[in-house]
């Protein structure tokens, strides 16, 4: 029941997230793409929980909690970078290299 379409949607969402991370340069947009990938995974968990048991749904809450924490820390970092360099374009943030 709706398993196939649900998984297809989550796959598309995940691929969009990956493509965004790969292609975009703005840190905020990349951050949003990461969130998109997390939510694609959440959708997979929920869809599979129908047939495999309730553990998948429980796991979604954990992912959300981690995503919330990550959002707090990640946005704080981006804010700090912006204050420091007046930009959030990752092309210009390349001090750490070999």
């Amino acid at each position: 029941m709706l398993l196939g379409p649900s998984l297809a949607v989550s796959a598309v969402l995940f691929a969009l997230g990956v493509a965004g991370v790969l292609l975009r340069r703005n840190a905020i947009v990349i951050f949003m793409c990461v969130e998109l990938m997390l939510n694609a995974v959440n959708l997979t968990f929920v869809a599979l929980a129908q047939s495999l048991g309730v553990a998948g749904q429980i796991f979604v809450f954990f992912v959300m909690a981690v995503a919330a924490a990550e959002a707090a820390v990640g946005l704080a970092i981006i804010l700090a970078i912006y204050r420091h360099k007046q930009t959030v374009d990752l092309q210009n943030i390349n001090l750490l290299k070999g």
Binding site: I30, N94, L96, G98
Partner: protein
């Protein structure tokens, strides 16, 4: 068994305790000279007294076979069981008495000779350690235990040659002695391994009993073993080709030269051959080599001694020469005669060296008093010392007559027995006549160079210098005392083994019979008719007398000038003075190629090129290159990392799904 024999371990243990005590004093209280003297000499006198008691008990016991005292198992490895054991038999009893006796006298002498040296405690520590190792060498009941002593005396020799190590020449002489001896020791070690491989045992007792059954007489195995053992002897006992270290060893203090490089350590090779007499009797070729090298060394060293000016160098070459005699004796199968000469030589050569020490002591003090920097050992700076050192002069004349072989002094008997043993084998092979002739010529040269030494040192006008000669004094009694004892022994030592020809009882010969019995059966001595024997005796005495007379007639002590004014030697005299250029030849043939090999191949090519270049620095360069490649991946561009990351994940997924 009487209790005294059970105390055999205490004889080497006493000097070891002395070494430990003096070693601690040398490190903590180097100025406590009284304590050092009491400990250093005390342990030796105690060891001597104990040795006498033990030998007397052994005499009373009357057992023909050796007494073996095992103490603990040292190396149980597979079939090899090396037990630390001491052995007392007739041969080691003789050596025990000689070593402890001569060592005691020389320790007493050292109290006077080294009295003002800042390294006094260190000196006695080394000297005690030497006696310990020497006793282990002569008392050891197996090859490995003997080898411990063998190496130990080598170590002490090295330490004492370089005793005044602040001067480079002394340190170099010590190193030379150590390195040359290593060459010989390789022979000893390989011989030991071969003995084990062929017999499965390294203990003297079973080995010598089984040897006639295990080895084919004259076979390659026993010949190789005995020749390799003899290589060890040529190192330790300074025979051709490894003798060059001994004259340089004279850089050490004179009592050390007397003890280690004349009376005891250098005779270890003779002891080894006599100890292995069964093996040598089974290998006639090796015995002939031993005798040949001995005769050649005796003659060769005697020619060098003719033209040396350093009083100790003359005695050093004389020692090499006399050791050659001993090897001629044991090589001829006359083991008792060889040991006899070892004993008498220990007496008169120790006396000569200690006498030389007393002369050097006097000259050193004289030069010290006037702040002169002349050479206190050069005979050209001596002359006429008989007036200033009457005791030393008289006693050294006794030793000179003994070493020259004038009856009734000790050297006459021992040298005569060796020569007649070599001559008697002339029937077997004419080569032995050549050996005998070399021995006879050596006797002539010996008498000549010893008389030369005495004339230049003690007679004629004094060349020390006008101000200095006022300071020449006879040594204190603590130094002349041992000389008197040694002179008495040099005079009477021949009584140990008076030949039957002179209505003697051949006491030493009979005493050593149990040790040499098997060898005597394998290789019976050849009886020489009485007439021939008399002729041999007369020839030997005539050679000695001729040498002395020639020296008195030919040499002009009054024409000598002090060393600093002396002209350079010319012609053949220069060749002799330069020791036949043997050191230079060895330097050219062995030392320089070896240094070149070490520097150019081992150091520059292998160490610097291969190990440092390819190994250490190569590894560093490789990891740096790999690191450089890794660092190129780290661009700082987040997008690039993500591409790699996603690519990696896809690759992992691809392989996992497939």
């Amino acid at each position: 068994m009487p209790s005294a024999l059970q105390l055999l371990w205490l004889v080497p243990a006493l000097p070891l305790a002395g070494f430990l005590a003096n070693g601690v004093l040398a490190l903590r209280r180097p100025r406590a000279k009284h304590a050092v003297s009491i400990i250093g000499v005390g342990v030796l006198l105690a060891a001597l007294a104990l040795a006498i008691v033990i030998v007397l008990a052994f005499l009373r016991e009357g057992t023909p076979g050796p007494l073996v005292f095992p103490y603990w198992e040292w190396m149980p490895v597979g079939e090899l069981h090396v037990t630390v054991a001491l052995q007392l038999d007739q041969l080691s009893a003789v050596m025990l008495l000689v070593v402890t006796g001569v060592s005691s006298l020389i320790h007493v002498f050292s109290v006077g000779y080294m009295g003002e040296d800042p390294g006094y405690a260190r000196y006695f520590a080394y000297l005690n350690l030497f006696v310990f190792f020497m006793l282990v060498l002569v008392l050891g009941a197996s090859f490995p235990v003997m080898f411990v002593g063998w190496e130990g005396v080598g170590l002490c020799s090295y330490l004492l040659i370089g005793f005044w190590f602040n001067e480079r020449i002394n340190a170099d002489a010590g190193k030379k002695a150590f390195l040359v001896n290593r060459i010989g020791d390789v022979g000893f070690l390989v011989a030991m391994l071969m003995i084990f491989a062929h017999t499965g045992s390294l203990d003297f007792q079973p080995l010598f009993a089984q040897a006639p059954k295990l080895f084919t007489p004259g076979g390659p195995a026993v010949t190789a073993i005995t020749l390799l053992l003899f290589l060890g002897c040529t190192g330790k006992s300074a025979q051709i080709p490894l003798y060059t270290w001994l004259p340089d060893a004279m850089q050490g203090p004179t009592p050390v030269s007397a003890l280690i490089h004349a009376a005891t350590m250098v005779t270890a090779g003779v002891y080894l051959v006599a100890r292995c007499n069964v093996l040598y009797a089974l290998a006639p070729v090796a015995s002939a080599v031993v005798a040949g090298i001995g005769a050649l060394t005796a003659f060769f060293a005697a020619t060098i001694a003719l033209k040396q000016w350093d009083i100790k160098r003359v005695l050093a070459y004389s020692t090499v020469s006399q050791l050659g005699y001993m090897f001629l004796g044991v090589g001829s199968g006359a083991y008792a005669a060889g040991i006899f000469h070892l004993v008498t030589h220990a007496f008169f050569k120790a006396l000569l060296f200690l006498g030389a020490g007393s002369v050097i002591h006097a000259l050193h003090h004289a030069y010290h008093a006037t702040h002169s920097r002349e050479d206190a050992q050069d005979m050209r700076n001596m002359g006429g010392l008989a007036r200033h050192l009457p005791w030393t002069s008289t006693l050294m004349w006794v030793a000179t007559l003994a070493i020259a072989g004038i009856p009734p002094f000790a050297g006459f008997f021992s040298k005569d027995q060796i020569l007649s043993a070599a001559f008697s084998l002339g029937d077997v092979h004419p080569l032995w006549y050549v050996y005998w002739l070399l021995g006879l010529l050596t006797a002539l040269l010996t008498a000549f160079y010893m008389t030369r030494l005495m004339l230049y040192t003690f007679h004629g006008p004094n060349r020390t210098g006008e101000r200095e000669s006022a300071h020449l004094r006879e040594a204190p009694w603590v130094m002349t005392g041992p000389l008197v004892v040694l002179a008495a022994l040099s005079l009477a030592g021949g009584a140990l083994n008076v030949p039957a020809l002179l209505r003697g009882r051949e006491w030493l010969e009979h005493w050593l019979e149990p040790v040499t019995a098997v060898a005597a059966r394998l290789r019976p001595g050849i009886e020489v008719p009485h007439g021939t024997e008399w002729a041999l005796v007369i020839a030997a005495v005539a050679a000695a007398g001729l040498g002395i007379i020639a020296a008195v007639r030919l040499l002009r002590p009054e024409e000598l000038v002090p060393a600093r004014l002396a002209p350079a030697e010319r012609g053949f005299a220069r060749v002799l003075w330069k020791k036949w250029y043997v050191d230079e030849i060895y330097d050219f043939l062995f030392v320089r190629p070896l240094i070149w090999l070490s520097r150019e191949v081992l150091w520059r090519t292998i160490d610097l090129g291969l190990i440092d270049g390819a190994g250490v620095n190569g590894a560093a360069r490789l990891s740096r290159a790999l690191g450089w490649i890794g660092s190129r991946l780290q661009t700082g561009q987040l997008g690039f990392y993500v591409v790699l990351f996603v690519g990696g994940v896809l690759a992992v997924l691809w392989t996992a799904v497939r």
